[in-house]
């Protein structure tokens, strides 16, 4: 007698998938893209503030214009195309800040706008927005105006735009008395420039009155230190005799290169350059903060700077020889003694835009390789290229061109530098056999 309630095998349904764990993991780390971009903006604002202090209100104007123009361009582009990949314009503001850092404080307003439009449209939008671009957008904008300005200047009415608006012969740096509020274009050049904090007042022997050559002026008119240094490597006779050791000057570090500003000025940023390029100490602090926050791997800026320094230490330069001859010196670090060579290498690294490129521009997450090894390759290549361009080619923005060049290779580096995946054979991607 079989119980009628017993179920048979046929009446039982097979197990059906009800739900899959498509939400796992159910915990998430707190940091979001928005935080990364905001913190990077905050870090990039440190050199910007230093630039505003050192170059006055014109620098602030350039920065505001650049940030606004970037934001507006992105907003307009979004209105037209509705590309979703624009991420609430935080990235546009970051691009604006970075672009401002690279521009000279006296850049004409329409050049800033052209740079911003290029940065957003060409650098970012045509690639599909945040996360998709190949080149660092701010550098695309900077590169565009570096090319456009000399070409555009002859076409405009005379006096509107100087062909060397972005790399003038004489740059202004505010004197310590006129910081923040001075006019950086109201310049004077004291004879025998001794340094930013030097007191240039002297007593006229005939009249007995104290004369201040900077009376009524806000800024020193200085030559870009990178141009001065370029004379050494490119063998221009004007500069090649400058490389004599002079240690007899009071209150100065041992000077290998007499017409350069003192090393301390280079360090605190009282030297000509783009408005965020000059203040080495602040750039390093901003970079270290980003490294501390894990938004930048320390390997990239370190490899960039180390490679640039090594190239500077070994690449041949023209030094003045006996009897006003010019001789080519290989290994400048060794040939002129360690102290002079060390100073020379430091000047090379601090005088251009190397630090800004290494800490804030090359480290843009999207345009640098993903793996640590790839980033080291990227840094070594970028640093070497930047230093070689600085030394031997008359380019206005060598470090930025080097970063843009290495950005081009980022997909290749990512494809080649692959750590061995768990369970795969060594160099599996290189050897033909599968598994």
């Amino acid at each position: 007698m079989k119980s009628p309630a017993v179920t048979t095998a046929q009446s039982l349904p097979d197990p059906q998938v009800l739900s899959a764990a498509d939400q796992s993991p159910l915990l998430r780390a707190p940091e979001k893209v928005h935080h990364i971009l905001s913190v990077t903006i905050a870090a990039a604002c440190l050199p910007l503030l230093a630039g505003i202090v050192l170059f006055g209100w014109q620098a602030a104007l350039v920065a505001m214009l650049s940030i606004t123009a970037c934001g507006l361009t992105e907003w307009l582009y979004f209105r037209v195309t509705h590309t979703p990949a624009m991420l609430g314009r935080t990235h546009a503001y970051l691009t604006g800040v970075l672009l401002a850092l690279t521009l000279p404080p006296t850049t004409p307003w329409f050049i800033v706008i052209i740079a911003a439009v290029f940065a957003i449209l060409v650098g970012k939008a045509i690639f599909g927005g945040v996360g998709h671009f190949l080149w660092q957008p701010a550098l695309v904008g900077r590169f565009a105006v570096a090319v456009i300005v000399p070409a555009l200047a002859p076409l405009l009415p005379a006096g509107t735009l100087s062909p060397d608006a972005l790399s003038p012969e004489k740059w202004g740096v505010l004197t310590p008395q006129a910081l923040l509020l001075g006019n950086v274009e109201n310049t004077a050049k004291p004879e025998n420039y001794q340094g930013w904090q030097h007191d240039y007042k002297y007593k006229n022997a005939k009249t007995g009155r104290t004369v201040n050559p900077l009376e009524g002026k806000d800024a020193y008119a200085l030559e870009h230190p990178a141009d001065t240094l370029a004379g050494l490597s490119r063998g221009q006779p004007r500069y090649s005799s400058l490389a004599r050791v002079r240690t007899d000057l009071p209150n100065r570090p041992p000077a290998a290169l007499t017409s350069m500003p003192p090393m301390w000025d280079m360090f605190i940023g009282a030297r000509p350059g783009g408005l965020g390029e000059t203040c080495a100490v602040i750039i390093i602090i901003a970079g270290l903060y980003l490294i501390y926050r894990n938004y930048v791997k320390w390997q990239l800026p370190f490899a960039f700077l180390a490679s640039a320094m090594i190239v500077a230490a070994v690449a041949p330069v023209h030094f003045a020889g006996p009897n006003k001859s010019v001789e080519i010196v290989f290994f400048p670090l060794l040939s002129e003694g360690f102290e002079v060579g060390y100073t020379y290498v430091n000047y090379q690294v601090l005088s251009g835009s190397m630090l800004l490129a290494a800490f804030l521009l090359a480290t843009e997450m999207t345009s640098c390789p993903v793996t640590t090894g790839g980033q080291i390759i990227f840094g070594i290549g970028g640093g070497a290229a930047a230093m070689l361009l600085t030394l031997y080619l008359d380019t206005p923005i060598p470090a930025y061109i080097a970063v843009l060049g290495m950005n081009t290779f980022t997909p290749t580096i990512d494809a080649i530098w692959r750590p061995r995946v768990f369970g795969q054979r060594h160099l599996a991607w290189l050897l033909k056999s599968r598994r």
Partner: protein
């Protein structure tokens, strides 16, 4: 050194531990259960056929269903009355299946884990006798994806394994069930381990525990010395508790891309299964339940409960409101579906709110997923291939090596569901290999590996 110390692996993260609420709670019998829905397919295979009719009075430990096609027989955890044949949601691995279940009401007293009285001299039995005895027990493994213990034994023997590793590390936040079992029944676990090793004919046995908890496991020391079992304490870095990573750390061997631990001659088991195996083989006790950690900020009774199979997860969690309940740990677990019951694969029921993942935005290539991936996968690039639909490219990058630990999704600042995407890529690759077998020849002809 009482516990050997071992090495590291690339990647991984330090997760918040969140175990304070239950780490010192002793194992207690489950309370407040008014009905059970004992799943008839705890491993997801063919459904066992009920042998009792509706309305039957059943005693605790009575067989109520007969397994078929390699499935296990089902026994009642508690005495009660069969009310109906219904369905229940059972967590098996990464999925929840809706499967038939026997509903029991008028439940008897929910007992604690009984004292073990040795009735079978397992030390004198040979390998085959032990395997036969295990087969009689109709046990399942108590891993996230359970399988019949007989099946596990057969796989280990077929693969010719020479190393048995007990994964007794609970790396996920909140989960403490195996930890309490090791504290309270450490000797039984070690004996169960020796039984399984003997049954599978595996000479080398290693038990891996959490370095931080070593001082809580005094019972392991004498037992492991008796059966010459290696003891290893490993640092707590997630996902060391994932099998493939644990094997790499312990043996320096890597499970091949898309393979199983058996491929490198290693069998992996967990502490709860060893305990159940010992209690059956030596003491003839079928536990029909497992220790489940109940924790989370919304539960009113955190603790480690010895829970019969088929208890409703919502009742177990005893959450105040209708919030989500998580089965398994928060990293590889899942949100309980309606009608989810405890089964061998569920070691934790958490009444905690999942972090809202937020809107995914586009990847900014920060590289954190790659930096933290224990399998050293370039997850950002895999995500690109996912978005473009490049399955073959994803295979070339080694997507099949993914261990699905969830770290990439955890760290992703763009909130992309990376783990899920890679998981879908893996299943696509497997499907694609079946449907397009000639592609392999094309790839080799073109010379790209």
């Amino acid at each position: 050194m009482l516990f050997q110390r071992f090495g590291k692996f690339d990647g991984g993260i330090d997760l918040p531990e969140e175990k304070e609420a239950t780490i010192d709670e002793p194992i207690r019998p489950a309370e407040g259960l008014s009905s059970l829905r004992v799943p008839l397919s705890p491993c997801g295979g063919a459904v066992a056929v009920p042998t009792v009719g509706v309305g039957t009075q059943v005693a605790a430990g009575q067989q109520i269903a007969a397994g078929r096609d390699g499935g296990v027989d089902i026994f009642t955890p508690l005495a009660g009355t069969v009310k109906s044949i219904t369905t229940a949601a059972v967590a098996v691995g990464r999925e929840q299946l809706t499967a038939p279940a026997v509903e029991l009401t008028d439940l008897g007293h929910s007992p604690p884990i009984p004292e073990g009285q040795t009735v079978f001299a397992w030390t004198d039995a040979d390998s085959d006798a032990l395997a036969e005895r295990i087969a009689e027990g109709q046990l399942t493994t108590l891993r996230a994806k359970p399988q019949p213990l007989v099946q596990w034994l057969a796989d280990a023997r077929a693969a010719g394994c020479d190393h048995l590793i007990v994964n007794a590390i609970q790396g996920q936040p909140f989960v403490t069930a195996d930890h309490r079992l090791l504290v309270e029944h450490g000797a039984d676990i070690v004996a169960g381990l020796a039984i399984l090793a003997k049954a599978a004919g595996i000479p080398t046995v290693t038990i891996a525990v959490d370095q931080q908890r070593v001082s809580d496991y005094p019972e392991l020391l004498s037992g492991t010395a008796e059966y010459s079992i290696n003891r290893v304490a490993l640092p707590r870095k997630y996902p060391i508790s994932v099998d493939n990573i644990l094997l790499e750390v312990l043996t320096r061997k890597e499970v091949p891309c898309g393979g199983k631990p058996g491929d490198i001659g290693i069998a992996v088991i967990d502490a709860a299964t060893c305990f159940a195996a010992y209690r059956w083989v030596a003491c003839s006790q079928r536990l029909n339940g497992r220790v489940v950690t109940v924790s989370g900020e919304r539960t009113s009774r955190p603790g480690n409960w010895f829970t019969p199979y088929g208890a409703d997860c919502r009742v177990m969690a005893r959450a105040d409101e209708d919030g989500p309940v998580i089965l398994g740990g928060p990293m590889i677990g899942q949100v309980a579906a309606d009608g989810a019951v405890t089964s061998p694969g569920v070691d934790a029921v958490l009444a905690t709110d999942p972090t809202p993942p937020g809107t995914p935005v586009q990847c900014i290539r920060c590289g954190w997923c790659r930096d933290h991936c224990p399998a050293r996968l370039n997850v950002a690039m895999l995500n690109d291939h996912y978005e473009l639909g490049h399955v073959s490219q994803a295979e070339r990058l080694g997507a099949l090596s993914c261990v699905e630990c969830g770290v990439c999704s955890y760290v992703c600042p763009a909130r992309l569901p990376l783990t899920e995407r890679v998981r879908q890529l893996k299943s696509s690759i497997r499907r694609w290999r079946q449907t397009m077998p000639l592609f392999q020849d094309v790839a080799e002809k073109q010379g790209d590996a």
